[in-house]
Symmetry: C2
Subunit: 800 residues, 2 copies
């Protein structure tokens, strides 16, 4: 049990640690050599093309300007300079709303902390039950400030109950305001967007197979019949894993060719050579440029054949399609209505952004989807409650005696003292560490198996799973001793009324633990986030060993987006801690406030300078954030009831029963009031945007605009890549381009008409085909975790 | 504890009782005087106009044909003669699907009963644990056939578990087939219907108030803007309670006038007279016909003024409207999509049938609706678990000592021995009896407060509430002793794993009780249903004292529809009993089979000859039936797990854990697969119906057809009534009618164009305006229970 002084020391250490991180960051970020690690967003946005230079060869790598060292903390005010609307333009609505969560934390816990510290702590201290007990025996000094200090049966519990009411109302009020604000931000954002393919497009899944008819035919007939004046065109979805693998290999060869050509340009006297064998390590020595050119030619032939095969073979067309309409109204109608008598066929939903589509899951049939959901729910349950079993097994193996029994032939090795001490000291913890490290990846795989069709959705579902894991294993697991499995067993064999009592009674005792947790995981973790130590090291390592061409440099630089699957759940855990402890041990609140404030600064800086979102979901995660804060309120109320009932405050506890009912009603109301804004597209909006469009741009060829918006990655093959590149360059110079790319593809037209649109849309559509292509490749190769291939995405057609 | 012989005697008594009822029914039904009680449907359908007559004055009242007495059980084969499709035409899909529930019961429990009796009973009997115990001490002979007879830790439990699996799969298979069939019946039924107003109409609620604009204006503008090519017209909803009261009074006067005119026609020599005073008991004696004519004239003036007031005053327009579209497609789209940015405004849903609308709830705003739902949920919970508290209070008053204390002045009266014995014997039970009798009415009021907008929906919600009540107070209440409140207390203070164990262990013991319950409530109850003793008595009483005109006779005759709020829950209770006992005490199954078979005959007869549905919901109740049978399966599985765990069958019980998960998955799949057919109208269907229509009838004036389909009852006032009557008569003679009723109403046109449509639609629309009118009146008068005014509905324009 920690005393106040212990907490103070711990706080000091953590503050110093965080400060050291910040100092390191401040020094590292102004070195030109690290510029691409700390400011990649500016490179990607095309506003910076090379690191700032302080003159000379050394100045290229090290910052020689001493003045900049003196103002090393100026990133904080800088991070605040951008207004919210600028952030939305700069980084998208997702990032802007993500930052609002921290502000919401401050808004919720600021007033609560003041009220709790001024009102509750005096009430708690004044009673002083615990002063009678021996100080170092069961209680810490923190407990004297908590509800534990109040005498059983005391009337003072009425103060706590009324505070719980007051705080709940305050939280709900802030939540309501914020939900309202975010919903209207979302609608405004969607309304302010220019013409975008996803506004006109609906994803249709489970297209029925009719014998003697192709999927494309079926889709065409069905929508021409049932949406006669609105249907425009559709784009088939091909199953092209093998082709994608070939394209990826070819691109690697292309990269080697570029590298060798660059090398040759720099040293025209010496033609680079390579060996034919594995990894260029042995075999006949040949001219590199010729060799790669030749191999690329081979690949091109293979690719052409493979593509022909896919296009001709009806089996490669999956029973899904992107159906486009001639108005937003038509798409909104189709996405929200049931199409067919059999509600498991012709399932329509809003198409995700083209770059957000997760192509692999488009073809999953309805029955399989139901089974997948069941299997994954069971697996997540098992993972949350029984993950300790395999880990304990591995740990038992790591136990030396066990290991010797299992593998007696290892005995001489194990008996060697160095190996022995290594195994004993390191192995047992290793299994758990490895598990926790790969956990997000495992959860992401699970979400993928579940069959969601958009990357954004996958990330949200992964975040939900991670939250359940944290709730059970971090929150409950810290409060109730024993593994989650033991808890589950106890829960099933305890009266329901006993559970909140058992948990509630240990809540105040764990306050010091959670304070330390907030400081270590929250404060230091956030400071680590801004330092970006891992990306920094990896970037420089890659720069030394792998980066050969400009394309590789971009690849090494890519920062990825906000890591929603990990940050959202931990953020929600902090809300849970704050809400549970706001009445019980209010001294915890200032620590949470510091976390929210600090994290806000850091993430604002990161959003502005570092992250590059892979998709824009227009704050689709907000209902989850809202729902989990509501769940935190309910947990807090239940636990307080349990805690009070152990305090024999029987006459005051029933007063609390009303609160969960009110909270749930509030939640239900908010759900009805705001959630449709995140799920549906109101016809009123669609119609007014359509009317606006018709008024401003009278005759635009929507069909050709939409024709290849959701083009399957297969069509962005090697040949086109060149064409797109050319056209993009033309667009840059604002020269109208109309050269159609003649392709043997079934989709009607492949001309780009960017010249008709505002420039920011041009930018979007220039980039997009490559996005989808490389995303697809990466996914078909290794399905493990998209953060591993995020780096692959931006290496070709950004104009720097 | 009952022996097998006891059960046999009880069965015999009940069978004899049921047989006596049947005999009485057989005798009563062939008496001409009872014809309108036992065959009202044929009168309402217009296929019978007066009772069969066996000659002479006596033959008018008593059946003199002896032959018909010999064939007195021939109603059973007669009831089976009609095919299902004929029943659908004759009585609607609701009734046909209602009958299918009984068939489903037979299909489910027939094979299960055979398998259980052949396999499980030998297994149970062979073990014979209970033979060692003293026979009359704790166990009945029934128990020897049940699972109780199996030795603890026996491996025979594997037989029970595999049977539970087998039966569950069988039930699910039958449920799946039935859901599939009902869903397609529903779609076919909807597709086979002719043009009906509800197909083109959407109910819009929560129309926002814009200052300086009327609701009608807002609706017109909004839909013209957002559904430009499809919007046709709309009909406002008026708040007209006072007006309806006046109309009702006027109709009563009209009835008196008719009566007096009839009297005068029969005896032209004597002009009827009446007194001016209260109820015609005193005051000046005047000529009746003149008097009533004069009073009606007065009323007409008042009504005209009141109507003018309502039409002019914008405050009487409620923020709801029926919006009609020019195609089913347009209506389907509008009903399924979100209209406005604010999802609590412009709420659209399918319009119920005109005669199904519950007008009073149309104007409830969104926030109020949320609060109402919360309040009613809490009330239902309180009612289910705490209803014994007020009843116990009343009973304690009925306790004589208590009564004397509360009201000492009553002492002399109470001490009188007759009163004393009456009070002691009768009063305590009376409170409970009265409560159970009015319970459906109370639940209906609750559903009305909840704010549902269709009568069919009100009945479904009432049925749900009644089911919860029966589940807790009949099923659980009989198994676990003590009141529901005590059970609730025990549940909260017991480990969750203990609850199924506690209930499960007493399940086999209660088998005899439930067998008796099935015989008394099921067998005898159904026989009572066919006898229709209450309607018989009431009809003859009314005939003697109240009936003055033909209109009154119709009123007295009206049989109402199937009483869904009471029959569905008790039906579901029988499913629950059968499913819970199928593995535990299979001897109960034959009793349930007899119930289903018998009830099927009786209800088939009633549906054909008696009931007259007030609305057609196209089997909208099916998802509830399906869901509750699934719930029964889950309850059965849980209780079996509990039961087995008390039998120390620890090695077999875990095998059962998978079953609830599988059952839930099946339910979820069915929900996704079939439920949309009951909630949404697929665009494919709508479009094909629209195309059909356009092909068959090229130019129909849809606007005028729809203009007054959802006319608010206010417009069907006294003046129109006459006009409609005239037109209806004209239609009968197939003479085109085109006399427009010129009214000072805002709705554009009021002509009837029935001559363009097939005759069965004519019939529908002829009747409907009056329907809505009288329904409205009745509801605005006394809100208690719609069965009380159901009798009011058909007294004017059916053509018999």
């Amino acid at each position: 049990m920690a005393t106040l002084a212990d907490i103070g020391v711990s706080a000091l250490i953590n503050i110093l640690g965080a400060f050291a991180f910040l100092l390191a960051f401040a020094l590292l970020r102004i070195q030109p050599i690290n510029d691409r690690v700390y400011f990649p967003k500016w490179y990607i946005a095309g506003k910076r093309t090379s690191p700032r230079n302080w003159g000379g060869v050394v100045g290229k790598f090290v910052n020689l300007n001493i003045k900049t060292y003196l103002t090393f903390l100026n990133w904080m005010p800088q991070a605040l300079k951008m207004s919210e609307s600028e952030i939305i333009n700069h980084a998208g609505l997702d990032s802007a709303v993500f930052l609002r969560i921290y502000i919401l934390g401050l808004k919720i816990f600021g007033p609560i902390a003041i009220a709790a510290l001024l009102l509750l702590i005096p009430v708690n201290v004044s009673d002083g039950t615990l002063f009678f007990l021996r100080r170092d025996l069961v209680v810490s000094e923190i407990d004297k400030l908590s509800i534990s200090n109040v005498r059983p049966k005391s009337n003072k519990f009425f103060v706590h109950i009324s505070m719980e009411y007051l705080f709940t109302f305050w939280v709900c009020y802030m939540l309501y305001k914020e939900y309202d604000r975010v919903a209207s931000m979302r609608l405004n954002f969607l309304a302010s967007q220019g013409r975008r393919a996803e506004q006109f497009t609906v994803l249709v899944r489970n297209v029925p197979h009719v014998s003697g008819r192709s999927i494309s035919d079926s889709v065409e007939t069905f929508f021409q019949k049932n949406h006669p004046d609105r249907y425009l065109c559709h784009q088939a979805v091909y199953d092209a894993n093998k082709f994608a693998r070939l394209v990826r290999k070819r691109n690697r060869l292309q990269n080697w060719l570029d590298y060798n050509q660059l090398k040759f340009e720099r040293h025209p006297d010496k033609r680079p050579t390579t060996k034919r064998g594995f990894l260029g390590l042995w075999g006949e020595r040949v001219d590199s440029i010729d060799y790669y050119k030749e191999r690329i030619k081979d690949f091109d032939k293979k690719l052409t054949m493979e593509r022909q095969k896919i296009l001709k073979d009806p089996k490669t067309v999956t029973p899904a399609a992107f159906v486009s309409f001639n108005s937003r109204w038509g798409a909104a109608v189709c996405a929200q209505t049931q199409q067919s008598k059999n509600p498991t066929l012709w399932l329509t939903s809003w198409a995700p952004e083209p770059r957000d589509v997760y192509w692999k899951n488009l073809a999953i049939p309805f029955v399989s989807l139901s089974i997948r959901k069941l299997v994954i729910s069971l697996s997540v349950f098992a993972l949350v409650f029984f993950y300790m079993i395999p880990i304990a097994f591995v740990q038992s193996l790591a136990n030396l005696e066990g290991l010797e029994k299992v593998a007696p032939f290892l005995r001489p090795l194990i008996e060697w003292s160095f190996i022995k001490s290594f195994l004993q000291g390191f192995l047992p913890g290793l299994a758990l560490k490895i598990f926790l490290y790969v956990l997000p990846a495992i959860l992401m795989i699970m979400s993928k198996i579940e069959g969601h069709v958009a990357v954004s959705q996958l990330e949200r579902r992964t975040a939900a799973k991670y939250y359940y894991f944290m709730l059970v294993n971090v929150f409950l697991g810290s409060i109730v001793t024993g593994t989650a499995f033991q808890q589950l067993h106890a829960f099933v064999h305890q009266p329901p009324a006993q559970i909140p009592r058992n948990i509630g009674v240990s809540i105040p005792m764990k306050a010091t633990f959670f304070i330390t947790y907030i400081m270590v995981d929250g404060w230091a973790g956030i400071a680590g986030e801004i330092l970006r130590l891992k990306p920094l090291v990896i970037f420089h390592l890659k720069n030394m060993f792998i980066v050969k061409t400009e394309r590789d440099l971009e690849k090494a630089m890519d920062p990825g987006g906000v890591d929603f699957p990990e940050t959202l759940p931990s953020l929600q855990l902090y809300f849970l801690l704050g809400i549970v402890y706001m009445v019980v041990t209010p001294i915890l609140l200032p620590f949470i406030l510091v976390f929210f404030a600090f994290a806000f600064f850091v993430y604002r800086h990161q959003v502005i300078n570092v992250y590059n979102q892979q998709y824009e979901s227009a704050a689709a995660f907000w209902p989850h954030v809202h729902g989990r804060i509501i769940a935190s309120l309910l947990i807090s109320q239940l636990l307080l009831m349990g805690l009070l009932s152990t305090k024999k405050a029987a006459n005051s506890t029933p007063l609390l029963v009303v609160l969960p009912v009110l909270t749930l009603t509030f939640h239900k109301y908010c759900k009805n009031r705001f959630e449709p804004a995140f799920r549906k597209y109101p016809l009123e909006e669609a119609m007014s945007k359509d009317t606006q469009d018709r008024a401003s741009e009278s005759d635009i060829d929507l069909k050709s605009y939409l024709a290849d918006a959701y083009l399957h990655p297969i069509f962005h093959s090697f040949e086109e890549v060149e064409l797109v590149e050319v056209r993009v360059d033309k667009n840059q110079a604002h020269v109208p381009s109309s050269s159609p790319s003649e392709l043997s593809s079934p989709s009607p037209q492949h001309t780009y008409h960017h010249e008709d649109e505002p420039s920011h849309i041009v930018q979007h559509y220039e980039v997009e085909p490559n996005h989808t292509m490389y995303q697809y490749e990466a996914e078909s190769a290794s399905d493990v975790y998209r953060y591993e291939y995020a780096a692959e995405q931006h290496y070709q057609y950004y104009h720097y």
